[in-house]
Amino acid sequence: MTIAANVNQCVATIKGIEAQLSILALNSEEESAQRAFHEVMGEMEKIRNELQNRVTQIELEEPQYKNS
């Protein structure tokens, strides 16, 4: 496993987290819980974007790892 693959995996996990958060936010009755889930969802998106950028960068620097 290359680092690019590892980071990609992490991105996928974060995507999963976002989906879970979205489900929880929709299903929760309690307003403060809904808000917390939504806020963290936004945070996750920021983290995901930065990781995604890093993956692109790695792939540019070391094209041999692409699609690995």
């Binding site: 680092i3 590892n6 980071v7 995996q9 992490c10 996990t13 974060i14 999963g16 987290i17 879970q20 958060l21 489900i23 929880l24 929709l26 299903n27 929760s28 009755e29 309690e30 403060s32 819980a33 917390a36 889930f37 806020e39 963290v40 945070e43 996750m44 920021k46 983290i47 930065e50 990781l51 890093r54 960068q57």
Partner: protein, 285 residues
């Protein structure tokens, strides 16, 4: 009309009347919180018994007096809602038995309570040591309400300065294998949602004896067949684990990379992730 038939008719009639009167007067009558409710409760019962069995008496007398008692009860309730003075007279007020941790002997005497009776009332409230009590009132019902000293009260999250999430009341959506549609709409859930959730648990509605949803929309069920194991909701613990895994991954990336800027980026995001975990902590447990 023969006597037994008369008694049967009277009994059914008075069951109906008593039911009606208690419905009108309401739950207050049943709880017997005030003197007045105590008195009227006893009297209504006695009148009913008297008239049912006493065949020489006219039914209408009993009906009228029960109605009067019911109406006066309602009237007293409404008046005491409006006037505090009236309330004090009719309902009375509590007597302070223990104040600032000290037993008020004079008040005890006024209510004609012996020390044994006080001790017994305290024990009913799970207090075996009078020294643990800060404040205690004898309510008009004859119950003792006890405020313990702070150090003897149960520990709450507030005492520990813990942040905990508020939870709404769970809704019981399945009873005896039948869907409770009112509770479903209260919780804002549809039949389709329920079907998918039940499929996740591997159960059908007919199998479910009792099913509730909590404020996170998680379904917990009790099945008729107690041999079958039902998975408990895993969504939130799983999410917590995923968040922690991501946090660990990010920290690992930060250590592994040689690029200075990437290291910074990973560290920043690891911190962000940690903040998110802290923020969700109250809701994911």
């Amino acid at each position: 009309m023969t006597e037994p038939v008369d008694i049967v008719i009277r009994t059914f009639l008075f069951i109906a009347i008593l039911f009606l009167i208690t419905k009108i007067v309401g739950k207050k009558q049943i709880s017997e919180i005030t003197f007045f409710e105590y008195v009227s409760g006893i009297t209504i019962g006695s009148i009913a018994a008297e008239v049912i069995m006493g065949l020489e008496r006219n039914i209408s007398y009993g009906v009228v007096s029960i109605l009067i008692f019911g109406l006066v009860s309602v009237f007293v309730d409404f008046t005491s809602l409006k006037s505090k003075k009236f309330r004090d007279i009719v309902e009375g007020s509590g007597t302070v038995f223990i104040k600032d941790g000290k037993i008020q002997e004079d008040n005890l005497k006024r209510e004609r309570f012996s020390t044994d009776e006080l001790a017994s009332l305290l024990r009913k409230q799970n207090v075996f040591k009078a020294a643990d009590v800060e404040f205690a009132v004898l309510e008009t019902t004859g119950d003792l309400s006890v405020l313990l000293k702070k150090e003897n009260r149960p520990l709450t999250p507030k005492d520990l300065q813990l942040v905990v999430a508020n939870e709404k009341e769970p809704q019981t959506i399945i009873m005896d294998g039948k869907i409770n549609n009112d509770a479903m709409s209260q919780a804002g859930k549809t039949r389709e949602w329920l079907d998918t959730e039940l499929a996740k648990l591997g159960a059908t509605i007919e199998n479910v004896f009792f099913g509730q949803i909590d404020s996170y929309g998680e379904l917990t069920v009790d099945l008729y067949d107690d041999q079958i194991k039902v998975p408990s909701p895993q969504q939130r613990p799983l999410l917590n684990a995923m968040l922690k895994k991501c946090h660990a991954d990010l920290e690992l990336f930060a250590l592994e990379t040689d690029s200075e800027s990437a290291k910074k980026m990973y560290a920043k995001n690891a911190k962000r992730m940690n903040e998110a975990i802290q923020k969700l902590q109250p809701y994911l447990n």
